[in-house]
């Protein structure tokens, strides 16, 4: 394989590995900008993956799979909302609980329903979101440089991949160009002011966590029935936390979130590619370095060496109306 082919193949897998991160980090963005910390992203993604794979297997339709994934994920979001908005409970604890319940319930139900050790049965091609060939992909394949890039990186992905890249500008537009977005950002900084203006803090935050559930649902569905063809026990494998790191790395802004996710996806792709390969002068680079780089980079950023990362001011603090 020559160098250019390697680049194309790594870029292709970078895109594939970044998609769940982008959806999940955007989910975290909506939740945290409204002042609700969400470390249950991982659990919601996992639960959605299981629901999507099960529903797609039973009905044979990926769209019903997507709807179930999103539905279950929103359900978990509402539990998080009920605990942290209505009951003013600890948001971190609630997130931990959601991660536990999702990790356990997916395996318990999976084993009870399908008896395959927590897996769901393999889906046929019609039950998944398959690759979409963009127009002209075959025609330009032989054009040097641009051809393979277009045919193998840009074309040939599934619908959810393209949706993820639509979701980024859409999130930006919602957050910065709509009334809902303005209020959402305000409620994450100063809920008292929003309340004084006569807007319900509770309802606003509930809408934010519902959007977060929706986006996590897309992420989980992508994992189970677009990237793979079944649910596998613990298949989110920490992606929810990498997305959280990306969200912080991007300083809670939508477009930087996309770039942070692409960077972390690239690291993941590079780790897969480098496995067992020798680097001149260094030898084999341990795969664990790539695995921990997203977290190390985020900590360096948090230490203030790459500009300051200021979280939404009211994040994590339950709002109590003055009496």
């Amino acid at each position: 394989m020559d160098f250019f082919d390697i680049v194309v193949s790594i870029l292709g897998s970078t895109i594939r590995l970044s998609i769940p991160l982008i959806f999940t980090a955007l989910a975290g963005l909506f939740s945290e900008r409204s002042g609700i910390f969400d470390i249950g992203l991982e659990g919601k993604m996992l639960a959605a993956a299981f629901a999507a794979a099960s529903a797609a297997y039973v009905t044979g339709s990926p769209w019903i799979g997507l709807a179930s994934g999103v539905g279950v994920s929103i359900g978990f979001s509402l539990i998080h909302g009920f605990a942290s908005i209505t009951n003013r409970g600890n948001q971190i604890v609630s997130g931990v609980a959601i991660n536990f319940v999702a990790a356990g319930l997916t395996v318990v139900l999976g084993q009870a329903w399908f008896s395959q050790g927590g897996r769901t049965p393999q889906l046929p091609a019609e039950g998944r979101f398959g690759p979409i060939k963009l127009p002209g992909a075959d025609a330009v394949r032989d054009v040097p440089f641009i051809g393979p890039l277009y045919a193998n990186v840009i074309s040939g992905n599934n619908i959810l991949t393209y949706l993820a890249f639509v979701a980024v500008p859409l999130s930006w537009w919602v957050l910065y160009r709509t009334r809902f977005g303005l209020r959402l950002r305000a409620v994450g900084e100063n809920p008292g002011a929003v309340d004084t203006a006569g807007i319900s803090v509770t309802w606003l935050r509930y809408r934010a966590v519902i959007v977060a559930g929706l986006l996590c649902g897309f992420a989980g569905t992508y994992l189970a029935i677009a990237q793979s063809a079944a649910f596998i026990k613990d298949m989110s494998a920490g992606k929810g936390f990498i997305a959280l790191a990306a969200l912080i790395f991007a300083k809670w802004k939508p477009v930087p979130v996309m770039f942070a996710c692409l960077l972390f996806g690239f690291l993941d792709a590079l780790a897969n590619f480098m496995q067992g390969k020798q680097v001149p002068l260094i030898g084999e680079v341990p795969v664990q370095i790539f695995q921990s780089l997203p977290y190390i980079l985020t900590c360096i950023l948090l230490a203030g060496f790459i500009g300051a990362a200021n979280p939404p001011k009211a994040g994590g603090v339950p709002y109590t109306k003055e009496r």
Binding site: I39, R88, G89, I92, V108, L109, Q111, Y295, L302
Partner: protein
């Protein structure tokens, strides 16, 4: 006066409320069992019998409880100073490295009771050091300790896998684990303690770490409620600005608190590494750090409460393992579900019933 801030007598806040939450968590767990087509009452019986029925079951229950006492104390100490240490998991993992290095260095030369104090120090030092950077970032740079400790869990896991796969592995072996410690690097079992109650320990790995955990409970109680440092920590936990006015140095207290918290988490490793498997293995912590959050919450951050909550979770772990033997339709992950529901209802939704209880209480006191 609103129901949210109405003061209830302590026995309601500390006993009735947690019990109600627990019952709800078990009710929902029973619902899950029922949904997958098994009898919840039967399952509960099997669990309790597996966890408390025989000496061996009790031994396993207390073995798991030992882990949770350490991690529960770790979370509680940080909580008293207003810090949320979600990194006990990673600190315990690194603590295992400290304990294992001591055992590997000393087990050829000295008996276990000489190794033990050094192993305690090693485990606490490595666990504490793993909490130091997040503590420093919180104190000096204002980065949220929840975020940094999560990140450090993952960095720690990657580091430990690297060390076990590439450095500490026994040459020629496939399993990523250190060599087995000789007797000088193992903590002895507490079969004599069980025998005092007429119980047979059998193969259960219940060991001296349990006694170390109890000593730590006492020391934490002394630290939090009987020392100047503990007073300063609690002041900081109640109000950062009040602490500043009282001249309590923020940076110093945050860093010391996290060193203690990480040290307690690190000591958890003594139990599985030196007490049970006698070697350092991948993922030996197995979520005990996160269970510590639930234990600390349910135990109201008090050592006595933590012991009770830790034993409860020990029953869950051991009972759940037995349950998955007897009811093959229920997998071991059922424990994780119950655990999650307990954290949800006893932790995040802990005040759900409070307004109702206040109303009931007001009715009674009026009449």
């Amino acid at each position: 006066m609103s129901t949210a801030s109405f003061p209830l007598p302590r026995w309601i806040d500390y006993a009735v409320l947690p019990l109600l939450n627990l019952m709800l968590a078990f009710l929902v767990s029973g619902l899950v069992v029922w949904i997958i087509g098994e009898n919840p009452i039967e399952a509960l019986k099997l669990m309790l019998n597996g966890a408390l029925g025989r000496g061996e079951g009790i031994g396993f229950t207390l073995f798991y409880a030992t882990n949770f006492i350490f991690t529960g104390l770790s979370v509680a100490v940080a909580y008293h100073a207003g810090l949320f240490n979600i990194g006990s998991e990673g600190q315990a993992y690194l603590g295992g490295l400290g304990a294992a290095l001591v055992a590997l260095a000393l087990d050829h030369y000295v008996p276990w009771y000489v190794t033990m104090p050094f192993a305690i120090l090693g485990a606490a030092a490595f666990g504490g050091l793993w909490a130091l950077i997040p503590a420093w970032l919180q104190a000096k740079r204002g980065s949220h300790i929840v975020i940094t400790t999560i990140m450090f869990n993952f960095i720690g896991a990657a580091l430990m896998v690297y060390l076990l796969v590439n450095v500490m592995i026994v040459p020629g072996k496939m399993a990523p684990e250190s060599r087995t410690f000789l007797e000088g690097g193992q903590l002895p079992k507490l079969d004599w303690l069980m025998a005092m109650f007429g119980l047979k320990l059998g193969p259960a790995p219940f060991n001296v770490s349990f006694l170390i955990a109890l000593v730590m409970c006492f020391l934490v109680w002394v630290l939090i409620w009987r020392t100047k440092l503990g007073f300063e920590m609690r002041t900081l936990g109640l109000s950062r600005s009040a602490a500043a006015y009282a001249g309590i140095p923020y940076t110093k207290i945050v860093i010391i608190t996290m060193l203690i918290s990480g040290g307690l988490a690190g000591m958890m490793a003594l139990n599985p590494v030196l007490g049970a498997s006698a070697r350092l293995q991948v993922e030996f912590v197995g979520g005990a750090g996160f269970v510590g959050i639930a234990v600390s919450l349910m135990g109201r951050n008090h050592p006595i409460g933590i012991i009770i909550a830790a034993i409860l979770f020990g029953v869950l772990y051991q009972g759940g393992a037995e349950l998955s033997f007897d009811m093959p339709n229920i997998t071991r992950e059922m424990i994780v579900v119950i655990q999650g529901l307990v954290v949800l209802f006893a932790g995040a939704l802990e005040y759900m019933f409070r307004p109702a209880l206040v109303r009931v209480y007001q009715q009674f006191t009026k009449g």
